[in-house]
Amino acid sequence: MTDQAYNFAYLDEQTKRMIRRAILKGIAIPGYQVPFASREMPMPYGWGTGGVQVTAACLTPDDTLKVIDQGADDTTNAVSIRKFFQRTAGVAVTEATTEATIIQTRHRIPETALTKGQILVYQVPIPEPLRFLEPRETETRKMHELEEYGLMHVKLYEDIARHGTIATSYDYPVKVEGRYVMDPSPIPKFDNPKLSDNPAIQLFGAGREQRIYALPPHTHVVSLDFDDHPFTASKAAHDCDLCAAQDSYLDEVITDDQGNRMFVCSDTDFCRSRREAGHLGRLGTPLSEVEQ
């Protein structure tokens, strides 16, 4: 049911070419923010317009698309973006990480390891890792040019001086191939290790801020830290209450007004496949019973 009034994947070919050039430049200079002429999309800025434009520029009719928000395929905005591409590109969609050729994500990297040939597209609100230390784009660009990242280290140091630890739990800055400091988008720092040496292509699109950047496969990515305060990926100290996974990132769900809560995988596909494989958590019900 492709809308005939619009080109394949909504954007016209000229625009896609412009975006592809930015992507290629980004891949050639890992971690560098490439300015691109972001278009108004039919969804608001802040809803993933950068990711949507990157996905639109990468999609071919043979692709299989997966869209997640907060790790889940069925959150409202993930549903909305997936529908958009079903409507404008008519591509196959999936919830299975392993089946997808392109995965658009907001705030998470899937738990299942990505493979060669897959593209992970991140939605990015503020692409500039130095933005909250220096609000001016003219200044931050200069800082990147001169590789002047002292301000960032001062900030991390001040965190340690004040809190005894680096008080950044998501959107945790990384250094790419020893050169550019990069904003990994607001993924929890739990996901940061997956950025490095990943066999998939990782593309980052910031629509409102008009920037694209990229990590080609197997790029070396290091989370910023100090020798005596090494980076640690953290998550809630629980197992998933549905699938008993010990190593997945968890959402905390308040289950009643007595303060009871449960912890469940934020990656819905990961959790479901584990339950299908017979894993059962503290509060889980075997899938066979749920279906009835």
């Binding site: 739990s169 998501y170 959107d171």
Partner: protein, 371 residues
């Protein structure tokens, strides 16, 4: 038994249906036609065209109807449509000196060639609610007399003939800074990413499609001393201008339509700087439709942003700060980013929860140890 939150798709469909229902309102009330909006809410239509950067009164009226009167939402609808349109070419520059005027005033001269034309303005109305408008029946169509334009007695229903700009008179005496004409193609921020520092044409483009409220407040701040520019409205003119385009096959330009625009030129007192002699300086505003608040605001902000070019001091005023102004003037960008915090952020929030819990635990333990 807990079942993870499902049903995003059903919820979205239901929300859309409910929205459509709310948009229509009470079906006992006659439906509002797009033509009615275009004709009777023309100033809203103008604002949507100006900030949507698309001159099409019918589509702007449709957007207002579809957005339930939320003008920023309407601007967004127009922008999202506009971005899909192919570019067939560029018009030749419009000539506002040959504007078919409906309004033209100067605050700097009592009378001037071409005359003062008050036109359809709220300026001297008393802001008393007209309950007659509410009592269904419109007041009978008043007879619009041919406008008496100026004290010189010229009438001006059609002034399509050239009406010189006020700043031109000052220029003849060398009292106002001259704008150097240029033939270079101005940049287009809808096709190229914004690059800073920006050129004046790019600044003007950003301002003319910038949010009216934002540009107004910035202009107001300059009047109150944050980057004061001592502005006079040298001239404000509203009317239609011909849009012409060079047709390669013909070898000359033909008129392809006309647009209504509001143009404002401010004349600003200037006592000179290290680089420039004492002279009047200018600010410029040009906006689609009858949108004079916006055009005046734009010209004040334009003038404030020219501090560097004129050798003035940067006082740290927001209206002087190009990056601040240009990066925050667009209401479609602003509203998107502002409202996106409604989207789920529970992954990040969860990470914050863990962090705060840990920091608290450590702080409490320290406090206990100290006691």
């Amino acid at each position: 038994m807990y079942v993870a939150v499902k049903g995003g798709e059903r919820a979205i469909d239901a929300a859309h249906a409910w929205l459509a229902d709310e948009r229509r309102g009470d079906t006992g009330i006659a439906v509002l036609s797009v033509a009615q909006i275009r004709e009777q809410l023309a100033l809203a239509v103008n604002r949507v065209m100006a900030e949507g950067s698309l001159y099409d009164p019918d589509l702007a009226a449709l957007a207002i109807k579809q957005s339930r009167g939320d003008l920023i939402e309407a601007v967004f609808l127009i922008r999202a449509y506009r971005t899909t349109l192919p570019r067939i070419g560029a018009s030749t520059p419009i000539d506002t000196g040959r504007m078919d005027l409906t309004r033209r005033i100067s605050a700097t001269f009592k009378d001037l060639p071409g005359g003062q034309i008050l036109g359809p303005t709220f300026d001297y109305t008393h802001r008393l609610l007209d309950f007659a408008l509410m009592a269904e029946g419109e007041t009978p169509a008043s007879v619009i007399s041919a406008p008496v334009s100026s004290p010189t007695g010229e009438t001006g229903v059609h002034l399509a003939a050239a009406v010189p700009h006020v700043t031109g008179f000052l220029n003849r005496d060398g009292l106002i800074q001259t704008e150097t004409p240029g033939d270079s193609t101005p940049p287009d921020l809808t096709r190229e990413p914004m690059e800073l520092p920006a050129t004046r044409p790019l600044r003007l483009q950003a301002l003319t499609r910038g949010d009216e409220g934002f540009v107004l407040s910035l202009a107001y701040s300059t009047q109150r001393g944050y980057g004061r520019t001592h502005a006079f409205v040298g001239e404000l003119r509203i009317g239609t201008v011909a849009v012409e385009m060079d047709i390669p096959e013909l070898g000359f330009a033909v008129q392809i339509g006309e647009v209504e625009v509001t143009e404002c030129e401010t004349v600003n007192q200037f006592t000179g700087s290290k680089t420039e002699p004492p002279q009047f300086t200018r600010g410029y505003g040009l906006v689609f439709g009858q949108t004079e608040r916006k055009a005046i605001s734009m010209s004040l902000v334009d003038r404030a942003l020219r501090w560097q070019e004129l050798g003035e001091d940067f006082t740290g005023a927001p209206a002087q700060d190009e990056e601040f102004v240009l990066m925050h003037a667009d209401n479609v960008q602003a509203t998107g980013f502002l409202e996106h915090i409604k989207l789920p952020h529970y992954v990040d929030f969860q990470a914050e929860l863990e962090l705060i819990r840990r920091l608290r635990r450590e702080a409490m333990a320290e406090r206990e140890a100290a006691e």
